[in-house]
């Protein structure tokens, strides 16, 4: 335990995010990394993986080999920091769609993720034992579901905690408020991670809410809230780890806002240059979540050029392997329209399937 209680305290004020790691890679005085050296190196590798996948995904999408997808770029520390606060064997991740590294850490095969963004229904099939719900496209709809999931585990005496992710845009949805309110009422073991990346596609944070901070709404739900530097992997990890510990101890939910910045497009169909001011991007560049962790690891001699090269080669090979695997798969057919709609197909659906299959055969 870090000793940090994730709630607003007068000493750091509502609008001052909790920080552990300074942009230059040095620790804030009096604060320490709650991750072991090994965990820290793994977390760094996962952030690099995520950034590399974003780049590969954009490139493949431009070649017409990959579907529309939403990169994590700029937010890696928020996702990875939170993910490393969870125990994948018993805790759950309920994602929106910008949380690839958290899903990977929970054990989701990369191929599965790629299939989803290729528009292949088989992408939804997370293997049994991988504690994740499917990617969510309807903003904030996953939040009440996460509360129900956490509540359901608690009712059955399991000590599972659910981390649910959404963005600043989703925090304006009715489901967000209903979920926070419900979680507070039930004291459900859930951690809301709101990644405030400054933009809901092109709508800036300032047009999202007049509230000074999104986490500052927490007292209205009767739950603790915490504002954390979302580009600081160690700070996010610490705050979420404390929230997880609280949840596990039966003390209920926490609302965590990670203050971060989406570096570029919302997804591969977007053009952020139409709305993101260049000076804003420049201002955030020195706070890049990856360079920050790398600087810290190098200072502590936990990362050197040889290790860096080895890690990047490993990542590239893994991504290439996944690309080969999904591109070698037989494309889904008519039967995939009907599989898993219901447990058994009604006569009407059986008829529709037969009709479509016959049409495909005569094409």
């Amino acid at each position: 335990m870090s000793g940090f209680t994730p709630q607003f305290r007068p000493e750091h004020g509502e609008a001052t995010p909790w920080t552990v790691l300074r942009p230059d890679g040095e620790l804030e005085p009096g604060r320490e990394a709650a991750l072991s050296d090994e965990q820290l190196r793994d977390a760094c590798e996962l952030t690099l993986f995520s950034r590399a996948f974003d780049e590969k995904g954009f490139s493949l999408q431009r070649q017409g080999r990959f579907g529309t997808f939403s990169p994590v770029r700029g937010q890696e520390a928020s996702v990875v920091g939170a993910a490393f606060a969870l125990d994948p064997a018993r805790d759950w991740v309920v994602p929106q769609y910008r949380e690839l590294p958290a899903l990977l850490r929970q054990g989701l095969p990369l191929e599965q993720f790629m299939l989803t963004f290729l528009g292949d229904p088989r992408g939804g099939a997370a293997p049994e034992g991988v504690n994740v719900l499917p990617i969510q496209i309807g903003l904030a709809a996953q939040l009440p579901q996460a509360v129900g999931l956490a509540w359901g585990h608690a009712l059955q005496g399991r000590d599972s905690v659910v981390a649910v992710f959404c963005g600043d845009g989703a925090s304006s949805e009715g489901d967000f408020h209903e979920a926070c309110n419900l979680a507070g009422t039930l004291r459900a073991p859930v951690v809301f991670v709101v990644q405030n990346n400054g933009w809901a596609i092109s709508t800036p944070r300032a047009r999202q809410s007049a509230a000074a901070t999104l986490a500052g709404r927490a007292p209205g739900y009767g739950i603790p809230g915490a504002l954390v530097d979302g580009n600081d992997l160690l700070a996010v990890h610490q705050v979420v780890a404390d929230a997880v510990a609280r949840a596990r101890a039966g003390e209920g939910p926490t609302l965590v806002e990670t203050l971060t910045y989406r570096l570029g497009d919302h997804n591969t169909a977007d053009d952020a240059s139409r709305y993101q001011p260049a000076e804003e991007l420049e201002a955030w560049a020195p706070r890049d979540p990856i360079s920050r962790v790398l600087a810290h690891l190098r200072t502590r001699e936990l990362w050197d050029d040889a290790h860096d090269t080895a890690v990047r080669e490993r990542i590239a090979a893994r991504i290439d392997e996944a690309v080969r695997t999904v591109e070698a798969m037989e494309p889904p057919g008519v039967e995939h329209l009907f599989e898993h709609v219901t447990e058994t197909l009604s006569p009407r659906l059986q008829g529709q399937r037969a009709e479509l299959q016959a049409q495909v055969r005569t094409r």
Partner: protein, 326 residues
């Protein structure tokens, strides 16, 4: 067999299912201490405790959303919408989330969720309490839409709903809650989905209805009998899955058909019945299929709702015209 009204049938069924399977739980607004605004969940809180009969914050989307999560955690939630008319506030959680979670997760997360929702007119409720919205949910693939008309079916279909691994919207005709009584089997008597019920035999015309409209059709059939017209009454019971074969047989047997429902006419489920009859029994028809439905107007205040909800007279007139058509 025991004689029960609809509410008693639903209440005893919920009690039986909660006792049968400890994974089940009931959640909604006022379902606990009050026992539901209609008392459908009366006594369940005392018997099963607050972890299994749960008064929820007044927020429909989170009631359904939480039910989805509970199901993903391995439980069997039975959620109540206080009135189907309020389900618009949860429509995205029902149609876009619950109904397609099995498909979205490729079978990893089946959704054994039941949403109970009273609906229907004729009892002078305030605005937004009476709307028949069933057709809206029929367009949410993955969701069964169940519309019992009798106490026996309320029990049998609810047992099937709770035991189904797929989500079910279970619409209860509130007008019949205390008025409609009937013999109900004791113990287990699940009624399968997708099998219509022939409520009354007849040879001249087939009246097709569901939920509270079945009683209207039955009364119309009695009135028609006095005129010498023999009307069959068919209760669809479940709109999804639809008993297409049973519907085709029932219509072919008389060659004439009138569909009766409480929802507005345009794109109501009656249109689906007509299209299905066209597909499956067109050449047996001796007259166009008629529809008796509410007008395409907002559900009105109580003092004029009897002009809105189809009554016996309109069904009789439609059946008479259909039988007389060349």
């Amino acid at each position: 067999m025991t004689r029960l009204n609809m509410l008693q049938a639903i209440n005893t069924t919920l009690r039986g299912e909660l006792a049968r399977d400890e994974r089940t739980l009931v959640l909604g607004q006022d379902v606990g201490r009050l026992g539901g605004v209609f008392r459908a969940t009366d006594g369940l809180l005392d018997e099963f405790g607050p972890d299994r009969v749960v008064d929820m914050p007044l927020a429909e989307a989170s009631i359904v959303g939480a039910a989805i999560g509970l199901a993903a955690a391995g439980l069997v939630p039975i959620a109540e919408m206080q009135f189907l008319g309020f389900s618009h506030q949860a429509f995205h959680q029902i149609g876009a989330q619950l109904a397609r979670m099995r498909y979205r997760s490729q079978g990893r997360f089946p959704m054994p969720v039941v949403i109970r929702a009273p609906f229907g007119g004729g009892v002078r409720t305030p605005e937004l309490h009476s709307e028949a919205l069933e057709a809206q949910f029929v367009q949410s693939p993955g969701l069964s839409v169940v519309m019992p008309a009798t106490p026996a079916d309320a029990k049998g279909l609810l047992q099937t709903a709770v035991r189904s691994s797929d989500p079910v919207l279970f619409c209860e005709p509130l007008r019949g809650y205390r008025l409609v009584t009937g013999e109900v089997a004791d113990g287990d008597a699940p009624v399968p989905f997708g099998k219509l019920r022939v409520a009354r035999d007849g040879t001249d015309v087939t009246l097709v209805a569901w939920s509270a409209a079945v009683q209207v059709a039955e009364k119309a059939a009695e009135a028609l009998a006095e005129e010498g017209i023999s009307a069959a009454v068919v209760d669809l019971r479940t709109l999804v899955p639809l008993d297409e074969a049973g519907l085709a047989d029932a219509v072919a047997a008389t060659g004439r058909c009138v569909v009766v429902h409480e929802a507005p006419l345009s794109a109501g489920f009656g249109a689906e019945v007509v299209a299905t009859v066209n597909d499956a029994a067109f050449y047996s028809l001796e007259a166009p299929v008629a529809r008796v439905a509410a007008p395409d107007t907002p559900y009105p205040p109580g003092r004029i709702e009897d002009h809105f909800v189809p009554g016996v007279d309109r069904v009789v007139a439609a059946a008479r015209a259909t039988v007389k058509a060349a």
